[in-house]
């Protein structure tokens, strides 16, 4: 229970865990005291002041000045040069660029008059758009689009972080506007993280622009906005799993279920369904511990579906929701 209380106070407990903790706290006075203690301790640490640490500003400033003097001989670059530092932030081939995540300030979300806004209030939110594109919104993030989305272009405003799987349509560019970045694509899948000003591309190619800089980012690459400069690095395979790390589904449409499963099982599932069947709701807790075979069996039990297996690929044909 103490582990759950820890998750509770740090905001990481699931709804089930929260109810469990609350029920437990009501079981006895002793439990209630422990429950309250956890809340008190967490809150008190908010006002934490390091007891004995007193930084010496003057000394640091002097040291900085002496650093500058010793650098006088070298030409001080006015544009940031790429120092040769290896960063180990989980990016395998990331060398010779000292990049830092610059988190964007929380965006003020401008609502236009006939715009649709979707916010992921609790957990990760899946959205499917009229053009067939799919979006996974991180908790707390929002997207907004006009009623003329998919007319001549497909424009989305993003606040926060989302994964996009954009349906290919060369005549209608898909454009994502975020506070510091603008991303434009033809047909690809990638994460835009407004909080770190970062774009990670899983497949295809995107163009990322900041007010003063522009880059093309392709599969397996990532771009971050560092100050005013966009820098490129590589992104680890499977990074997109953030959008459903446990493979749990809460009334999720089948289109999302298959997409998320394919993320973990290497695109072995193909879904063939008639329009509305794509939206059949599916609920299940952590499928990440199941084999693909078992997962397909679970899907078979949940839907009126025909499964055709060829090699290690599964083709699901669904006619109707059950």
């Amino acid at each position: 229970m103490e582990d759950i209380l820890a998750k509770l106070v740090s905001g990481e407990a699931t709804n089930d865990e929260m109810s469990m903790a609350e029920a437990w706290s009501k079981e006895s006075l002793e439990n209630k005291i422990i429950y309250d203690d956890y809340l008190t301790v967490w809150s008190a640490t908010g006002s934490y002041q390091a007891s004995e640490f007193v930084p010496n500003t003057d000394k640091a400033y002097e040291r900085h000045l002496s650093l500058l003097v010793s650098e006088e001989e070298q030409a001080e670059p006015m544009i940031p040069q790429k120092p040769t530092t290896v960063i180990s932030l989980g990016w395998k081939k990331w060398t010779s660029i000292a990049a830092v995540f610059v988190a964007a300030l929380s965006a003020v979300f401008l609502l236009r008059s006939d715009a649709t806004t979707i916010t992921a209030n609790e957990g990760i939110q899946y959205v499917s758009l009229a053009d067939g594109s799919q979006i996974w919104l991180d908790e707390g993030s929002s997207i907004s689009y006009d009623s003329d989305f998919n007319k001549n272009e497909r424009k989305i405003e993003l606040s926060g972080k989302a994964f996009f799987d954009v349906a290919r349509n060369e005549s209608k560019p898909f454009i994502i506007e975020e506070k510091d970045l603008s991303v434009s694509v033809l047909g690809t899948s990638f994460t835009v993280d407004g909080m770190s000003d970062r774009v990670d591309v899983v497949s295809g190619k995107v163009q990322v622009s900041s007010p003063t800089s522009e880059v093309i980012v392709t599969k397996g690459e990532s771009s971050i906005l560092y100050g005013e400069q966009l820098e490129i690095g590589s992104v680890e395979e499977g990074h997109a799993k953030w959008r459903n790390p446990n493979l749990s589904f809460d009334n999720a449409p089948l289109s999302q279920v298959v997409a998320d499963l394919n993320l973990f099982y290497g695109d072995q599932l193909t879904l063939i369904s008639e329009g509305s069947a794509n939206e059949c709701a599916f609920t299940s807790s952590g499928l990440v511990s199941e084999s693909l075979e078992n997962t397909v069996k679970i899907l078979e039990a949940a839907y009126d579906v025909t499964v055709v297996k060829s090699g290690d690929r599964y083709e699901l044909t669904i006619m109707d929701c059950q």
Binding site: D3, V9, I34, Y48, F53, T57, L89, V100, V102, G227
Partner: protein
């Protein structure tokens, strides 16, 4: 003296560097040291990393956007430098680096004990957390990072993050209990 804003600092960093640099340090050095210290709990190391932050901001002075929040920007650079530093150390977060110890309050004199309130007990207890435990707790509590983010930033499993934060809270709670017992 005329009001000297953050924007002025940024502009001056290009035109009148020495003055602006001094102002930058006066205004933000302690704050940045604090941000870093909350994550790693080592004073000397915090000052080293803080210095690196200022050196880097100085290097980038010509491309800094004057409309950015300077404080926020410095903070983000500091957090990321600290994360880089932690990862470079390749610490094994799965190994328990200490027996479950309670910060030693008996060494305080009677006077100290009476003068102490809950807040200073908590402060001391956080200071006394085993280093890896403290880093992870700091990232969650002070930098508001999610377990997922911490696990990605440090390259460790979410389970390890859960364990360490649970451990931190256990230790902190025990310190509070000990303090309450001794008071009564």
């Amino acid at each position: 003296m005329m009001q000297y804003s953050d924007t002025d600092i940024l502009t001056d960093l290009k035109a009148h560097p020495e003055k602006a640099l001094r102002e930058l340090y006066d205004r933000y050095y302690q704050f940045i040291c604090g941000v870093i210290f909350k994550m790693i709990g080592d004073g000397a190391q915090s000052e080293d990393l803080a210095q690196e932050v200022f050196v880097e901001v100085w290097r980038r002075r010509s491309v800094l956007d004057v409309s950015t929040s300077l404080r926020g920007y410095l903070r983000r650079v500091a957090v990321n430098k600290t994360l880089n530093h932690l990862r470079a150390q390749k610490m094994d977060f799965d190994i328990d680096d200490a027996i479950l110890e309670v910060p030693n309050l008996d060494s305080s004199t009677q006077q100290d004990l009476e003068a102490q309130d809950l807040q200073s007990v908590i402060n001391k207890a956080v200071d006394s957390l085993p280093s890896k435990c403290r880093m992870i707790f700091g990232l969650s509590r002070f930098e508001q990072k999610s377990y997922n983010e911490i696990s990605q930033d440090l390259g460790i499993s979410i389970k390890t993050v859960e364990n360490q934060i649970s451990k931190a809270l256990k230790l902190l709670r025990m310190a509070v209990l000990t303090y309450q017992q001794e008071k009564n």
